[in-house]
């Protein structure tokens, strides 16, 4: 206002003095526990799960950089170590190679 002679290309629409609302790891963990109904048996268990959760937050950030077209973040598995996740939620055995005796599917036409 009052400076019509200036070339004002950008108009400020937010409070210039406001601090950005960045959640801490503790905030994220509280939201995680609430969202997925997580309850831990003891203080020690809680603290351990919190340390795993923080590690998984860092891992999610790494995944986001390596996989930018997906969204990575907190999931129901964020309080599990990699080996716990593998043991409890995966489970393909010997799947790293094709079974030798498997029938091969016939080749299907794919043109037109």
């Amino acid at each position: 206002d009052g400076n019509e002679g200036d070339d004002l290309v950008i108009k400020q629409v937010v409070d210039g003095g406001a601090e950005p609302n960045v959640l801490s790891s503790e905030d994220h963990f509280s939201l995680f526990k609430k969202k997925f109904g997580k309850v831990y048996a003891s203080r020690e268990e809680h603290d351990y799960r919190f340390s795993v959760f923080k590690s998984n937050l860092r891992r999610a950030r790494r995944h986001q950089k390596l996989d930018p077209s997906a969204r990575h973040g907190v999931t129901q598995f964020s309080d599990l170590t990699r080996s716990e996740f593998k043991r409890k939620h995966l489970g393909v055995k010997g799947g790293f190679k094709l079974p030798k005796d498997a029938n091969k599917a016939p080749i299907l036409p794919t043109e037109n």
Partner: protein, 230 residues
């Protein structure tokens, strides 16, 4: 081949299930494929029992010593199809409900079998063939490396680097043509995958992974199954 295809829209996919804290993904992948094949054969979508596979299927891969289907400790979809072929079929989910626990005795009631395997085979590592078999035969059992799935929330997963060592069984239900990849500034085609970690995981229980370069080994072990029409 159609540019986009989704068996969910055609009624061949049951609601997303949850394997709980049990390494039984292989059984969910196998039942999902047979549910789709049975739908194509009979026109009826019936949810099938994973617990029957967990309790009763101890089929072994003849080429891999010690690699036998073993409930919550893992298994292989092809071995599950082999078991299903030999035993006569699978019961309904409601007749043999999922508990997510293993070690129980097998409670198969052969008079209650509702879906049977007539044949199964593996598809070559060729995305056109995978798409063609998907469209022709119904949802496909696939194995994948799940490293990126622990933190996945949504979008099209297309990691620059992902191991191809397969460790998770899922169900391929369709493909799309226009998932946007912001870092590459172009539209990326993708597979649509049904997972078994409940609806709160991923995109309502589903995962999208980009097509084109066997990302996370998704094209490596793909099985198609056909159901018997009784």
């Amino acid at each position: 081949l159609p540019e986009e295809f989704d068996w969910r829209e055609r009624g061949a996919v049951t609601p997303v299930k949850n394997q709980g804290s049990c390494g039984s993904c292989w059984s969910f992948s196998a039942t999902g494929a047979l549910e789709g094949a049975n739908f194509l054969a009979t026109g009826k979508l019936v949810s099938l029992s994973e617990q029957q596979l967990v309790d009763c299927d101890h089929e072994c891969d003849p080429e891999e010593a010690g690699s036998c289907d073993s409930g919550c400790n893992g298994g292989l979809m092809n071995s599950a199809f082999e078991y299903t072929l030999k035993t006569g079929g699978l019961m309904r989910e409601e007749d043999y409900p999922y508990t997510g626990k293993d070690g129980a005795t097998c409670k198969l009631d052969k008079s209650k079998i509702v879906a049977s395997v007539s044949n199964f085979s593996v598809i070559s590592i060729d995305e056109e063939q995978i798409a063609a078999n998907l469209v022709k035969n119904g949802p496909l059992a696939v194995a994948i490396n799940a490293a990126y799935m622990q933190t996945y929330i949504g979008g099209v997963s297309c990691p620059y680097i992902c191991m191809r060592r397969l460790n998770h069984g899922v169900l391929l239900v369709g493909y799309g043509s226009a998932g946007y990849a912001p870092a590459r500034f172009k539209e990326k085609p993708y597979w649509i995958i049904k997972n078994s970690w409940g609806e709160t995981w991923g995109e309502d229980g589903f995962y999208k992974i980009c097509r084109g370069r066997n990302v996370c080994g998704v094209d490596s072990l793909v099985s198609t199954v056909t159901a018997t029409v009784s």
